[in-house]
């Protein structure tokens, strides 16, 4: 089986003239309606922006700023010009050649779920705070999985000094993978250390803004607010060319209207306002629109990451982002389940497939349980299988004379079979049929004889990867340099 794995090309190889299935819910009139409603919200209710620097820029650009409440009301043209100004394709560059994620609306790059603080240890079965080692392992495993295109800061290194957890996290991410890494920086004081670490890790020891190997998730605060420190950190990083994923995460019913319509409009408005602020601060800076919102579970008052309402929210918001031409991140694979079970698969897969079919450029959600709070590596391996299915689904059907294979059928005639034909072998090798890696087919007896369940097989795969996979090493001297930078941060940052 492993020899097949090694040679099977990416499904995108035959995406050329394929008929690709698409999922769409909003027609042109609906898109216009959501856009108009969003503009009304921004012009009439406004957004609280408690950062003087951003306020000043907004005022200059014609926004109405209430100095006391710090609420900013956006004229339509300010939003429209930000939409025009934001780049329509964004490069999430990789340290390792050939691993770039170019968000240009041609494929979905999958990434981890995040950013939690707990780990279900696949070795002991214990649920405990996540560590730097867990984060490192989550990076190495994802680095080895072709299905994962970009790496997320999936779990905090809780065993580290709280003041340094962002930097320690970045250190583990850079060390554990040659792919693009997306993290979080919410303290402006961390920015200089982050930039030095990135320079050290970059090929040639130099951070190159045109090839950003790192991006961040920036969260506006629903409803209709920003946090001064996080916003400041995002602007400082955008100035350096770090791409920003603008993740407004409303919980429908709690921090947004309970209706899908209300949450769609509010989230879209929040995204547009953040785009406007960041485009004013750093014209042309690369941004990613997030087509996702959460729901509050009204029985337990917890954040629900999955369910039909989330799929509808994702679909509509992904379409809005795509309508503006922005690269879009949306969510799938996430689950509220506490263990690998029917719920975990059923929460995760439909949402992932819907998101991919809607055309999201980035898909978060792999590898966690318990509403994105509990890292569980076996789930990462199993989610990768769902992502492969999604990629295959999105690749669609190549419909042309060659693929109809009428000449072969003519040759074989009624009553023959196709199994021993060269064309069959060729298309098989070209990925016409997906070969499951983690999922089971075959006979019941064979499965029983093998005697290993799904989780066991996933655990074995993880241990195999950890034993044999070596991510692209950092440049010479970089690990030491990074350690020094963090030591400096430890001595300079005020004690916690």
């Amino acid at each position: 089986m492993s020899s097949l794995n090694a040679t099977q090309p990416q499904p995108s190889d035959f995406a050329g003239d394929a008929l690709r299935p698409r999922l769409s819910m909003l027609d042109a009139a609906a898109i216009e309606y959501v856009h108009e409603q969003s503009l009304r919200l921004l012009a009439e209710v406004g957004v609280r922006v408690p950062l003087a620097r951003a306020q000043a820029l907004l005022k200059d650009a014609g926004a109405l700023v209430d100095d006391e409440t710090r609420i900013v009301r956006f004229p339509d043209d300010l939003i429209e010009s930000a939409i025009a100004r934001a780049p329509k394709t964004v490069l999430l560059a990789a340290r390792e050649p050939g691993k770039d994620a170019l968000l240009d609306h041609t494929r979905s790059f999958a990434t981890h779920d995040g950013m939690g603080a707990m780990c279900l240890d696949h070795r002991t079965g214990e649920r405990r705070p996540s560590t730097a080692q867990d984060l490192l392992e989550a990076m190495i495993v994802a680095d080895a999985l072709d299905e994962i295109g970009v790496l997320w800061y999936t779990a905090y290194p809780c065993d580290e000094d709280p003041r340094l957890q962002s930097l320690r996290g970045l250190q583990a991410m850079l060390a554990g993978s040659g792919k693009h890494v997306e993290g979080e920086v919410t303290d402006p004081a961390d920015v200089p250390y982050v930039m030095e670490m990135l320079a050290a890790a970059s090929p040639g020891g130099l951070w190159r803004p045109e090839r950003p190997i790192f991006s961040i998730v920036y969260c506006p605060v629903s409803p209709l607010q920003h946090d001064a420190d996080s916003l400041e950190a995002a602007i400082l990083l955008a100035e350096q060319g770090v791409p920003i994923t603008v993740y407004s995460l409303a919980l429908a019913g709690a921090t947004a209207p309970i209706t899908q319509a209300g949450t769609i409009v509010q989230t879209n408005a929040e995204e547009l306002a953040a785009f406007a602020i960041l485009q004013l601060a750093v014209p042309g800076c690369p941004l990613v629109y997030v087509g996702n919102a959460g729901v509050m579970d009204m029985r337990t008052s917890t954040y629900a990451t999955a369910g039909p309402e989330e799929i509808l929210l994702n679909l509509a918001l992904t379409e809005m982002g795509r309508h503006y031409g922005f690269p879009v991140l949306s969510c799938g694979l996430s689950t509220d389940a506490k263990e690998l079970c029917v719920q975990a698969g059923s929460d995760g897969a439909p949402m992932a497939l819907a998101t991919m079919l809607a055309g999201a450029d980035l898909l978060t959600g792999a590898g966690m349980l318990d509403s994105a709070q509990l890292l569980y590596l076996p789930k990462l391996v199993l989610d990768a299988e769902i992502i492969r299915q999604g990629h295959r689904l999105v690749a669609g059907v190549a419909l042309d004379d060659e693929h109809v294979m009428a000449d072969v059928t003519r040759r074989i005639g009624p009553g023959g079979h196709f199994l021993a034909e060269r064309e069959t072998r060729r298309y098989l090798r070209n990925g016409e049929l997906l070969m499951p890696r983690a999922f089971v087919r075959g006979s019941y007896d064979a499965w029983q004889t093998e005697g290993r369940d799904e989780t066991q097989r996933a655990v074995e795969r993880i241990e195999e990867i950890l034993a044999s996979h070596h991510p692209l090493p950092l440049p010479d001297g970089a690990p030491q340099r990074i350690e020094e930078i963090i030591a400096t941060a430890a001595s300079e940052k005020p004690a916690g």
């Binding site: 709280p162 709690a254 921090t255 509050m296 337990t300 916690g496």
Partner: protein
């Protein structure tokens, strides 16, 4: 009429609750009696229904808000500092943390249960907690943190309360997703709540302790 008031509160019917409260006052019913016999029992029912899953969060909060309206009407008729009688809770999300959904929920339900709540908002520094305890002399101070990076501020605040000589006069409660009972115990906090319902139960127990102490 008191039974009708209790039912209206459970239903979250603000207009009816306000009208009945006014009517009872006009008929000479003491404010204390309206509170103890009609309003607080209504909130008890709502709380119990939430715990049993019959009632959902928005319904509970609607009743809590309705209760607040009735309390505003009763306030001038209640004795100084009498309020709903359970005492004051100072609440805030710790420095460096902006998560406030859970903290606000806890605040609303505490209010609904009869506490006076002073909500300090988010990013509350150790110093601000200490000042607020001096200013409001609460029975309880509650801290919320949702990030592992901001949890240490809870210990700092406890230390600062001690240093200011205030630790003995106030109960400390902590909560937020990464907070556990074990963490709360280690910290030396007096109470913890994994959710808003538990937070209210624990706060009531602490208030009762303080009252008998």
């Amino acid at each position: 009429m008191k039974e009708q008031l209790t039912q209206a509160l459970i239903a979250g019917n603000a207009d009816l609750v306000n009208a009945l409260t006014q009517a009872l006052l006009a008929a000479g019913t003491p404010a204390r009696e309206i509170l103890d016999d009609a309003l607080l029992p209504g909130m008890e029912v709502v709380g119990a229904r939430m715990r049993s899953g019959e009632c959902f969060i928005p319904e509970v909060l609607l009743s809590a808000r309705t209760m607040q309206g009735a309390l505003d009407i009763l306030k001038p008729h209640l004795g100084e500092g009498e309020g709903a009688g359970l005492g004051t809770v100072v609440l805030g999300t710790v420095e460096g943390d902006l998560h406030d959904i859970g903290k606000n929920l806890v605040g609303m339900l505490l209010q609904g249960a009869g506490f006076e709540v002073v909500n300090l908002g988010t990013g509350v520094t150790t110093q601000q907690f200490v000042e607020a305890v001096k200013e409001h002399a609460p029975a309880i101070v509650g801290m919320s943190a949702l990030l592992t990076t901001t949890l240490p501020h809870m210990a700092e605040t406890l230390a600062a309360l001690k240093a200011a000589g205030l630790r003995e006069q106030v109960k400390v409660m902590v909560g937020g997703a990464p907070v556990t009972q074990a963490f709360a115990d280690e910290l030396g906090a007096d109470g913890y709540g994994a959710n808003a319902g538990m937070a209210v139960d624990r706060a009531k127990a602490l208030a009762a302790q303080a009252a008998t102490a």
